[in-house]
Amino acid sequence: MTLRDGSVQYHVARRRGDELLIVSALGHLYALTQLGIGWTYPIYEMKWVPASQVNRASTRVKAYIKTISTLSRGVDRFISACDYDQEGSLIAYNALKYAVGEHSLARSRRMLYSTLTRTDLVKAWETMEPTLDYPVIAAGKTRHETDWLFGINLSRALTLAVRKASGAKKTLSVGRVQGPTLSFVKEREIALRGFVPIPYWKVYAETVISGEAYPLEYEKQRLEWEVQARELASECRGRDGKVVGIEKRSERLLPPPPFNLGDLQREAYRVFKLSPTTTLGAAEKLYLGTYISYPRTSSQCLPPTLDLRGILEKLSKHPAYAKHAEELMSRSKLKPRQGKKDDPAHPAIHPTGAKPRRLLENEAKIYDLIVKRFLLCLGMPAIRGKIDGEVDVNGHSFYLMGSKTTKKGWLDMYAPYVEDKETTLPELEVGMVIPVTKLSIRRSYTKPPRRFNPSSLLRYMENHEIGTKATRANIIDTLYRRGYIAGRRIAITDLGLRIVETLEEYCPSILSVEMTRELEESLEEIQLGKKSLEAVTEDVKAALKPILSQFKDKETEIGAAIAGASAGSRVEEGAT
């Protein structure tokens, strides 16, 4: 039964004689704020308060807190059924501690699940943990508190420095993940702005066999000197070539593993040009609709306990997936391709089989990608036959190269998201003479490194273990919002560049990958019960103290260095 308490919906259910009251939390109901007053720094003391007191946009929070508090009266036990991760565990803990009261914690248990399907929820109910998951809560709490300490202090230090130097009221921010990420963009920008292209020459040749034209690839990709290229052209132009060798081989293309969040975000960008944030938003909607498993996962593995046949059975009822689902079901054994990355809390993203209703355009795109990736990871490898014919032209080696997919396997399941490039060659024989019908040389230049786009920056962050699967996309959005970076092909703005350079000079540790990685390791240790929240928070405070004191001493110089750029953020050419 669904009821309302003012604007908040909640549900009443019965199970084995117990009455259950189910209410959602609307994300974080509580947020950190400073203890004491004054917009200054350093600030080391904080407290949790209703999120509406920190962020005026969180207007609905009050109503949810009131409903949770009202419904908790007379309740004899509580169950945290939020998402199974640090954030979910902390959301439930804070709601219980502050909206219900500290006494509720000892009477609370934890449900763990990765999909919102009836089967999984019933199983999670029957096997729930006897207490809250305190180590996970502690790790989540430490992440919030340490990020708050870095963010509030360094952002205020930057903002006040600029205000003091120029009177400008622009709000600047930096955090322990923002810093290294912006630094990555800066390093790339420096390489681009200082790049000197080097010339080289490429040979383009063609032959005609049985009326069809085929490209002839010269043995060297690049020639460094113009004179070499000209000599080659004069020695080969108008000559015949002779096939002196043929090499045939076949290549097995294994299907890719199922998606984790980063892989899904990258693939959605490659295929649809959807930003990582849009992809995450669509995936979360699909999860809440029970159509897919929990998307904030690092795992590229499907556990052996997952009912693959059950999911395929349901997917076979969808006309779009029926053909491949039925084909897979007809096999006696199903063995998914597994990736290297695993996540103890959640499996790789996979469909539940529930048939989606009324999906928005982006949700439908993401759903299709996830289902097809799930199907293909159960598919057979593709087999591609390759043939290389070596052709001698007046002592120079050229190659005729062909490839043909002899068994489509999983490639067939991933249409239209994968392109199967084929070049069919005619029958070749050693000793065969073929004409060089065209030969030209063209000058090219080495290319500067590519600018990041939101997807490649996300991968770079992932490779350097910066941020978490849940926060990376948001960090990139913040850098855009603050005016530090711009364009789909990401360029650093003058303001972004000045911020990094200033931090490099006065507190390089905030830009260091090592510092944020060490903190992530500490959070991991807290989650494993090997370290305490207090010890890690104290370490962070100790690390911040000298940085902030140096900032205070040099406030005017720092402010002046940044102020010039913040007045008008210029973007380097080439950014779109």
Binding site: I190, G194, V196, I198, G564, E572
Partner: protein, 71 residues
Amino acid sequence: MTGCRVCDREKQEDSVYCEHHQAAYSNLEESYLQWRRALGLSWTEYLEKVGKVSGTGIWVKEVIKVILSGG
């Protein structure tokens, strides 16, 4: 220390350029050998050519402009 010959940043010790433009100048010097071998150009011809290639970095182009204008 006074300003960089190209921009308003401080110039580096023993240089007329700031950190970024000095790095761009060093890259230009290092690449000249490869350009000379490839095309047999003089230093000035080289600067003129590099300045027109689309992939050349903006700081490199700024340094070239200053050098060619006799700065």
